[in-house]
């Protein structure tokens, strides 16, 4: 402890500069003891909360679950992948060049990052997995027909079939209007059967790789369908339900993400096709602002204007009335 004898320093704005904390009266305070007590309290609290409330663990949706619960959705998704109309097929970077993606004004960051995870939705999510099925001559013929057709013909077949499925009651493939869909109905029906038998999962995640640690393909396929979102919405996890901030079941989830998910609930973000980039841009700006608060005039003065500090240091201000 030192005794300060220097005169009070005054800044250019006339405001007193902050004195060194070591120049103030001191009192006994054991920091090690405080930390040990805090550690014991937090450990007991954690054990108590864990014992009382456990933790959420809703089982992952398998491709078989999806195929059995929503077969029409699987068929529609497979047809959409062939037609190039799914989210992943038209996503743009980092999966393909079908679109430029989102932008922040003139900054096309998504495009600049490039295609680092190349994906041909029709080939990688539908045709390649089905190529491993060897005991189905009808499917083999259908795949051969598809491969021998030109790109325009393929797109025509798949688009017509997708449209017909959308028109059929409940998207039921058996109720689709008659038309020229080429091999698409056989391919999509086989895709459904393959998924129902449980073969699709491995074909997507570990094809050509014994250790299938990368779920990119299966997650993109699942997200291209409607079933995943339906299940999420039923658990109040939709984008307009504050999304990722929530947790399955009655658990607190990630409340620290409230500001990020908040923007998606209000205009112009809630109505913009470019909302993801706008929200991310805004959050990066706000985060930078939070980091630089000490240097931002006005913002750094808010604590002086709103006297919460007089509650925090009420003992000090009581003993040292403002002069």
């Amino acid at each position: 402890m030192t005794t300060s004898t220097e005169p009070r320093r005054v800044t250019r704005t006339g405001r007193r500069s902050t004195p060194d904390s070591h120049g103030f009266a001191a009192r006994p305070y054991d920091l090690v003891k405080e930390f040990v007590v805090a550690l014991i309290v937090v450990t007991l609290l954690t054990v108590g909360l864990a014992a009382a409330f456990s933790s959420p663990d809703e089982k992952a949706i398998t491709m078989r679950d999806w195929a059995n619960a929503a077969p029409n959705d699987v068929v529609a998704t497979a047809a959409g992948e062939l037609a190039g109309t799914t989210t992943s097929a038209g996503f743009g970077p980092p999966y393909n060049t079908a679109a430029d993606g989102a932008s922040l004004g003139p900054l096309t960051l998504q495009k600049w990052a490039g295609v680092t995870i190349p994906l041909d939705s029709a080939q990688d999510l539908v045709l390649t997995p089905l190529g491993g099925v060897t005991d189905n001559s009808t499917l083999t013929d259908a795949l051969a027909t598809w491969q021998s057709a030109d790109a325009d013909q393929r797109t025509q077949w798949a688009t017509d079939y997708s449209d017909a499925l959308a028109q059929a009651p409940d998207g039921d493939p058996s109720a689709v209007a008659t038309g020229d869909y080429g091999p698409v109905p056989v391919i999509t029906a086989s895709f459904l059967t393959f998924a129902q038998t449980g073969g699709l999962e491995g074909a997507l995640t570990s094809s050509g790789n014994f250790y299938g640690g990368d779920q990119t393909r299966s997650l993109l396929l699942l997200a291209d369908g409607a079933y995943l979102e339906d299940q999420a919405r039923a658990r109040n996890l939709g984008g307009d339900q504050w999304g990722m901030m929530n947790e399955t079941g009655n658990y607190p989830g990630q409340p620290w993400m409230w500001l990020y998910t908040f923007w998606y609930q209000v205009p112009p973000f809630s109505t913009s096709e470019n909302a993801d980039a706008l929200v991310w841009g805004l959050m990066m700006l706000l985060t930078l602002g939070l980091v630089l608060v000490p240097f931002i005039p006005g913002l750094r003065s808010i604590p002086r204007w709103v006297p919460v500090h007089r509650l925090i240091w009420r003992d000090y201000y009581r003993d040292h009335p403002r002069r």
Binding site: A26, V32, A50, F53, L109, W256, P303, I312
Partner: protein, 216 residues
């Protein structure tokens, strides 16, 4: 260094870079301030507890996370003990964030960046943002429905600003490594830096307070 030289007072001006490094590190935190047994008398508010509580919760987070790694990725889905350890991890994280947010708000209203403490504030905010990233990758590593939904939603935001090209939230093996190695390492360094800065500069005095005449 030989036994004869050990214990000899350091030279006034260190000549080698190792000596200069030792000299510099020895001055990072003033003597007696690393783990003090005295604090300024104005430190008389419950708000001061939350920094230490945040640190204590982080210890529990790391400890429960280490326990969780013992059984592997799928352990906690199939074992009641694993589930309980996962619950410890979840609730310690919830407490960690609750304490940290209160600590952050408290420091904001105290304008705790005053008196050359801007870097203390900045490392604290970076630790907060880094903690969000670490928790996020934890959710992606759970290999359950929440992971499926969060990853497929998050990819849109991350890809929209180009981050997804290098940080693939749909690859749980990649996310698990970020969660258990990369981010904890970075976060650990930032937290150590933050705590050292706090101890180095001491706790911020009240707004508009003057130094007092203190009897030696």
């Amino acid at each position: 260094m030989t036994a004869v030289h050990a214990g000899r007072p350091p030279a006034a001006t260190p000549t080698s870079w190792t000596a200069r490094l030792r000299e510099r590190l020895s001055h990072v935190v003033p003597p007696g301030q690393a783990l003090p047994d005295r604090q300024p008398a104005y430190m008389s508010s419950w708000i001061y507890v939350f920094g230490v509580l945040t640190l204590a919760a982080l210890v529990v987070v790391v400890a429960s996370g280490v326990l969780l790694t013992l059984g592997g990725v799928t352990w906690w889905h199939v074992s009641s003990l694993g589930r309980f350890v996962n619950s410890l991890h979840l609730w310690s994280v919830e407490l960690f964030f609750a304490f940290m947010v209160i600590h952050l708000w408290g420091k904001f209203w105290m304008a705790a960046w005053r008196g050359n403490r801007a870097l203390t504030w900045m490392t604290g905010v970076v630790a907060f943002v880094g903690s969000i990233g670490t928790a996020f990758t934890g959710y992606l590593s759970q290999s359950n429905f929440a992971s499926q939904w969060i990853s497929t939603q998050a990819k849109d935001g991350l890809n929209s600003v180009g981050v997804g090209a290098f940080f693939n939230v749909l690859n749980p093996a990649q996310m698990l490594l970020w969660h258990v190695v990369l981010l904890p390492l970075v976060l650990g360094v930032i937290v150590v830096l933050h705590v050292v800065l706090v101890r180095r500069h001491g706790i911020v005095p009240p707004i508009d307070a003057d130094e007092e005449e203190v009897a030696p």
